[in-house]
């Protein structure tokens, strides 16, 4: 995301990491997490059906949601429940029942892996011996009940062809880009575009990105911590040259490969007193390498010059008049009225650092 020339693919990869949230806390295997990340990137703008099928048989996911524990003699409901609740249909909409959770778990039986003392879990595979070949009934009692000897691919397709899937998909994808729900007419047309395209992601993303609501000036969104950090580094034309961005991300509320749970990050609650401090720390480390040197700093820099320089440091971000006025006020009042001669450069250097820090953390910079 920091260096890519295809930022949309990277942004969508982050969306899918959130959507199909899988945590290395439970997977315990970074190589499998990277493999999953590559799968999300490869399918980032392709078919949601392919993506969902690939995720269902992805080793990290098979470990995370107990797929390899789900066999005909001992069904495990973990993946089946979340496939419906979080990935394709949504909770509390009447889309499925507890009986459907159990039936879908049966359809999803059959995956297995071997444990190797050195390599961890290996040899992920579908083992027909572990699969429940019996007849399952989904959506019983609804107008669209389905009965058959369903397997894992059927399980995914049944969810995607459920009449309530398209709305879930469109609303959820929309919410990553626009803070207000889509107008009904827009949603309906996106749904039919999605279904008629055979569950293609790209046309829906393109339509959302072209929608005027995305550009409404009064509807900013809080940048996710990873996007915030990448923005600071891009503004400084700096790559990922140190490893501490990962734990800093944790403090800011988003440690990659470690979503808090299978529902992903809470995309509506990025900012609170704790994560504000986390973002402050991110900015600290973004500032640190080219911190002004008090020894050699200007002894004459005026408040206006100081502010101009600090804004230029971050590539002239768009800030409202009230924010600029407050920064101006800080620049004008931060220095004591009388300065000892050694303080002339040292305190001006500190004022410059403080200004850069205040800019990089101010509420308008956190939103876009």
């Amino acid at each position: 995301m920091v260096r890519s020339d295809q930022p949309l693919v990277e942004r969508m990869t982050l969306v899918w990491h959130d959507w199909f949230a899988t945590s290395n806390e439970d997977v315990g295997n970074a190589a499998l997490m990277i493999e999953q990340n590559q799968l999300l990137r490869a399918n980032a703008l392709g078919s949601f059906e392919t993506l969902a099928l690939e995720v269902t048989k992805n080793p990290a996911m098979l470990l995370f949601l107990s797929g390899v524990e789900n066999h005909k003699d001992g069904p495990n409901e973990n993946y089946g429940r979340e496939l419906m609740e979080l990935f394709t249909l949504g909770a509390d909409r009447g889309a499925y029942s507890e009986a459907d959770v159990r039936e879908l778990a049966r359809a999803l039986t059959g995956w297995d892996a071997d444990w190797d003392d050195d390599a961890g879990y290996v040899n992920f595979r579908f083992d027909p011996e572990r699969h429940d070949t019996g007849v399952k009934t989904l959506w019983a009692g609804s107008g669209h009940a389905q009965t058959g000897t369903f397997d894992w691919q059927d399980a995914v397709r049944l969810c995607l062809h459920h009449p309530m899937h398209a709305e879930f998909f469109v609303r959820k994808l929309w919410s990553y880009f626009v803070p207000t729900p889509p107008p009904d007419a827009t949603r309906a047309s996106l749904e039919s575009l999605y279904v008629s395209s055979g569950f293609q992601i790209r046309p829906i993303v393109e339509a959302i990105l072209a929608h005027p609501d995305l550009y409404a000036a009064d509807a900013p969104m809080v940048k996710p911590p990873v996007v915030y950090t990448a923005g600071l580094l891009r503004a400084r034309q700096r790559g990922i040259d140190v490893s501490y961005w990962s734990w800093l991300g944790d403090g800011a509320g988003q440690l990659l490969f470690h979503p808090p749970n299978v529902a992903g990050w809470n995309d509506n609650g990025w900012l609170d007193t704790s994560t504000i401090k986390g973002r402050w720390d991110v900015a600290w480390y973004a500032l640190h390498p080219d911190m002004p040197d008090g020894e050699s700093y200007s002894t004459t820099e005026t408040p206006a010059e100081a502010l101009a320089k600090a804004l230029a440091h971050w590539g002239h971000p768009t800030l409202g008049a009230a924010t600029v006025a407050e920064l101006q006020h800080f620049a004008e009042t931060a220095l004591p009225a009388v300065l000892a001669s050694w303080e002339q450069s040292w305190l001006r250097a500190m004022r410059q650092t403080a200004l850069r820090h205040l800019i990089a953390t101010c509420p308008e910079f956190q939103t876009s």
């Binding site: 789900n70 495990n76 609650g269 504000i276 640190h288 407050e326 006020h329 953390t361």
Partner: protein
């Protein structure tokens, strides 16, 4: 390989309930921390006078006012809410160890080697809960062996949301303790409701008063690289606070502003803490660290009314239940016992009650992966010197499972909340818990 530890609930639900932080409007007193010297002020024990040192430039005394008002109302009771994330298996905490049905439903998971639960000798404490069992023996634990609600929603996120908001209402936007704070709290006192989990707990989401979140009490300082002159630091802290109070008509920018303003307040309040190490010996786990810092904050007299955090471990034990469960239960139970001992040493134990809860229990019949899937009634505890120490509800036994093969609840979490509000927090449950007048009450304190 247990699935999905550390549940929060779905984004859709969070979207509404996490939004509770209040706006700090222009014209309201300047947020605290402005112009305050770093070594700032010292708040003696709650109820005594507030001593403020080195706060020469604070405008209007907003900070002192908020805290002094909170403190002058006298020591308030404290409720600590600890969430056992993922749906804890109550039958693995208090096991009907001789029941043949239990032995056949739990061939690999059955518990052995614990001590008998004195109030119901059919049950045995899991050995990992020995610290909790010890406190129970001392009359400091009320056990809820089957708590929940009828036909619980088996989504982690939805059921947790119900517990957080204190109602079976997916649309509710405020937490049950948030509504309590709205009634009794102060607009400015952000730490009256403090989430020690990093993120703001939806349980504390308010409409009118400030609440706060922090992951650690020790490092909540807003410093800049190479900026060490007190005057520049003070000016920066003031500007940081003011940037959070700029007017905004946009709700999202307004939310960002509030978070920043509240951070400025919190940072000045947490600056007063004495160093760690004064109290009892805590085990080495995240919950213990949080409880230890909470004990320090209470010891310093900070006006905290409600604190929330997650228990150690994750309890969504779809597989490998045996080890995952034991480690978490032991860490949690040891940490809570250490906290209780610390509070007793500090003379605060009469003022603090701990509530341990989970979004649901697990299915009595184990699954094929040496784990358990989502169930209905679960286990909960009240811990403290003032806890009644007697069972709330009873163990229903395994003879009367519901149609999905799950344990029915014998105590309702909303009745529990009503009882805590009225008998512990000292306010009417009506207006905080919907439908309070029709709900039963339990004896929660002595």
């Amino acid at each position: 390989m247990s699935c999905c530890n550390d549940y929060t609930r779905s984004a859709a639900l969070r979207a509404v309930a996490g939004r509770g932080l209040p706006a700090i409007e222009p014209g309201m007193p300047l947020p605290a921390g402005t112009g305050m010297d770093r070594r700032g002020f010292l708040l003696r024990s709650a109820g005594l006078a507030l001593s403020v040192y080195g706060a020469g430039r604070i405008a209007g005394g907003a900070l002192e006012e908020g805290i002094a008002m909170a403190a002058s109302t006298g020591p308030a009771p404290v409720l600590v809410s600890i969430f056992l994330s993922g749906g804890i298996d109550g039958l693995n905490v208090l096991a009907p160890f001789e029941d043949p049905t239990y032995l056949s439903l739990r061939p690999t998971l059955k518990v052995s080697g614990g001590t008998t639960f004195s109030e119901d000798p059919r049950l045995m404490w899991h050995p990992a809960a020995s610290a909790l069992a010890g406190l129970h023996g001392a009359g400091k634990v009320s056990v809820m062996p089957a708590v929940g609600y009828t036909h619980p929603n088996q989504s982690h996120f939805t059921s947790r949301h119900f517990w957080e908001v204190g109602a079976l209402d997916v649309q509710a936007r405020t937490g049950w303790l948030g509504r309590y704070l709205d009634r009794v709290g102060q607009p400015n006192n952000a730490i009256q409701g403090l989430s020690l989990q990093g993120q703001l707990s939806p349980t504390l989401a308010t409409t009118n008063v400030a609440v706060a979140a922090t992951s650690s009490a020790d490092s909540y300082r807003f410093e800049s690289p190479g900026v060490w002159d007190d005057r520049i630091e003070d000016a920066m802290a003031a500007s940081f606070g003011r940037l959070g109070t700029l007017p905004s008509t946009n709700p999202i920018l307004g939310q960002a502003n509030q978070a920043q303003a509240n951070a400025a307040i919190l940072s000045s309040q947490l600056d007063t803490l004495p160093p760690p190490g004064a109290g009892a010996a805590y085990p080495d786990n995240d919950l213990a660290t949080r409880l230890e810092s909470l004990a320090r904050m209470l010891g310093a007299g900070l006006p905290i009314r409600c604190a929330t955090m997650d228990a150690a471990g994750g309890y969504d034990t779809h597989s490998s239940q045996k080890t995952d469960f034991e480690d978490g239960l032991k860490a949690t139970s040891d940490a809570v016992a250490a906290f209780q001992a610390d509070l007793e040493t500090r003379g605060l134990a009469e003022r603090v009650l701990v509530h341990l809860w989970s979004e649901f229990g697990r299915r009595p019949e184990e699954n094929g992966s040496a784990g358990t899937d989502h169930g209905a009634a679960g286990v909960g505890f009240l811990v403290g010197t003032r806890a009644a120490g007697t069972m709330i509800g009873e163990h229903p036994g395994l003879g009367t499972l519901d149609e999905e093969g799950n344990l029915p609840a014998t105590a309702d979490f909303r009745s529990l909340y009503c009882s805590l509000l009225e008998d512990w927090l000292g306010t009417e449950a009506e207006g905080i818990v919907p439908g309070a007048s029709a709900l039963a009450r339990y004896a929660v304190v002595k």
